[in-house]
């Protein structure tokens, strides 16, 4: 799966979870860039991403994510 394809599939998930229809997802994006990205919405986002890509992330995987780029790499590794 290409990074562009993952970004385009992540965009509606992010818009839904973070409740912002204007959100533009890019690889450099971090939680600090999105006001509604807190600990609760972070969990919701991870669950939604797992569901959309039929993947299962470990706690260690999730904890080590520093930005969306690393999430994309994780999806590439773990997606079915």
């Amino acid at each position: 799966m290409e990074a562009n394809e993952i970004v385009s599939r992540l965009t509606p998930i992010f818009r839904d979870v973070f409740n912002d229809d204007a959100l533009v997802v890019d690889e450099g994006m971090t939680a600090a860039d999105v006001p509604s990205w807190d600990s609760l919405s972070n969990i919701n986002m991870i669950i939604a991403v797992e569901k959309a890509f039929s993947a299962k992330f470990s706690i260690k995987d999730v904890r080590n994510l520093k930005n969306v780029g690393e999430l994309i790499e994780l999806i590439k590794r773990k997606a079915a």
Partner: protein, 472 residues
């Protein structure tokens, strides 16, 4: 030695001077010796516990980083976490049930050690090989009494920088400003409010409903004045040695719901729990949907409660917070889903008077009231005392006759003033930037500091100067 003792500051000045006169490499060793000496003034036996715990975690950290297999890493991490948690549990239990005095700062330094073990398990590169820098991390004396609970990486990074540079005058001045602000908040606001609350606590049934209601509301204000005062002093003293610690408060009384309140209150603890307990727990329980989320919230908030001590009151405090937080999360989630279904997501609504002022004000008021209600269980040590005040607040037992007008002005005026100051500072000091600019235009810094010191000398109470969080 307390942060409010003049002797502490008499010792601090030469201690800081020597620190910057020493060559870089010696600074960390000197600071470690200073930190252990500070601890030994409180207890030499418990200093042994601190050193042993640090040594064990240091060795386990190296073992985790060195291990090639995931199983071995996990085993070392689990052994370390279990051992540190056992130390906390044994002492908290002994404290609650046998009256044993807790080792100074054990709740705080043990959380630092736990975060280090977990971080190294998550990422080998988080390991700290320099024993002096590592041993200093849990022992660092400005943070040992009651935090803030700093994370390993920011501490290690800053400590290495400090050993490689000369004195930063701006950082030292910022440190002194924080110490002064903290002392004023603690001694002029917190301690005065504590005296007033202690007076009402002695015989609360003699006081009228309104006196008791306002006093209950001031428990939270007093705790804020006391703990934010302590935190500022701790951060200030840390800065004198070149270490910036994490903040504990971010205008908690401006929070418009409980969820936001806990993002702004005792942040170094709540963020710690979010990273090492709530997030792993929520992910583990994710297959159970909303029930899993609510379960994670309950466990998290109960841990926050009993972290303060193994008593029924702290447990009830945690459960009440869990209920408030769960209800808030469910309501906010339902509102978002409803807005989405109605097609009203993030459309920019025209700002009205209600959306700008009334809704945040009401939300902040309700949040303050809910937290104050739970504070009845935090403030009193025993269940009976809490229930007695609660019964009076709920109108189930009669109130006394002493009203505000019966209280002498020398009691009521300082109490109201301190409540107002704590509320203003805790709400984020609205308008203070403009005020500071006007004051700066009129008076130089040295004059402002002089006035603050004068006020501290003249207006400090003769109270104990002990910090509430010193007991945890």
């Amino acid at each position: 030695m307390s942060f409010t003792s003049p002797l502490f500051y008499l010792a601090l000045a030469p201690a800081v001077t020597v620190f910057y006169l020493l060559p870089g490499r010696w600074r960390a060793i000197y600071l470690l010796a200073l930190s252990y000496a500070f601890y030994a003034l409180s207890s030499r036996i418990y200093l042994v516990l601190l050193v042993l715990a640090s040594a064990a975690v240091y060795a386990l950290g190296l073992a985790i980083a060195k291990s090639a297999s995931e199983r071995a890493k996990q085993a070392y991490m689990a052994i370390g976490v279990a051992a540190v948690v056992a130390v906390i549990v044994v002492f908290k239990a002994a404290g609650a049930w046998r009256g044993v005095l807790l080792p100074l700062g054990v709740s705080f330094y043990s959380f630092k050690l736990l975060s280090y073990l977990i971080e190294v398990y998550w990422d080998d590169e988080a390991v700290e090989r320099d024993p002096i820098v590592f041993f200093l991390f849990p022992a660092f004396f400005p943070q040992i009494v009651s935090g803030p609970i700093q994370r390993p990486e920011p501490f290690f990074g800053q400590m290495r920088n400090v050993t490689a540079r000369t004195i930063d005058v701006e950082q030292v001045e910022a440190g002194l400003r924080l110490i002064l602000a903290g002392l004023m908040m603690k001694l002029l606001v917190g301690d005065r409010l504590a005296d007033f609350i202690a007076l009402i606590d002695q015989s609360h049934s003699d006081y009228s409903y309104s006196v008791l209601l306002i006093t209950v509301g001031s428990y939270l204000l007093q705790l804020f004045a006391d703990f934010s005062g302590y935190t500022n002093i701790a951060l200030g003293v840390g800065r004198l040695f070149g270490i910036e610690g994490p903040p504990n408060f971010n205008a908690p009384f401006s929070a418009i719901n409980i969820q936001e309140f806990w993002r702004r209150w005792h942040m170094s603890l709540t963020l710690w729990l979010t990273d090492y307990l709530f997030t792993p727990l929520s992910l583990t329980l994710r297959d159970y949907g909303q029930a899993g989320l609510i379960g994670a919230i309950f466990i998290n908030m109960i841990v926050i409660g009993i972290w303060h001590g193994f008593t029924l009151n702290y447990l009830v405090f945690g459960i009440l917070q869990a209920i408030f937080l769960s209800v808030t999360v469910l309501i906010l989630g339902a509102r978002t889903r409803w807005k989405r279904a109605a097609g009203k997501t993030n459309q920019v609504q025209p700002a009205t008077w209600a959306s700008r002022y009334a809704v945040p004000f009401l939300g902040a008021g309700l949040t303050f009231a809910l937290v104050s209600f739970a504070m009845i269980f935090f403030h009193f040590r025993t269940w009976d005392q809490s229930m007695s005040v609660l019964a009076q607040i709920l109108g189930l037992s009669p109130s006394g006759r002493i009203g505000w007008s019966d209280l002498p002005a020398y009691l009521s005026v300082p109490a109201w003033t301190c409540m107002a100051v704590a509320l203003y500072v805790g709400a984020g000091r609205p308008g203070s930037r403009a005020l500071a600019q006007s004051v700066n235009a009129m008076a130089p810094h040295w004059l402002q500091y002089g006035v603050c010191l004068f006020l501290l000398t003249v207006l400090s109470t003769t109270g104990s100067g002990r910090f509430i969080y010193g007991q945890f």
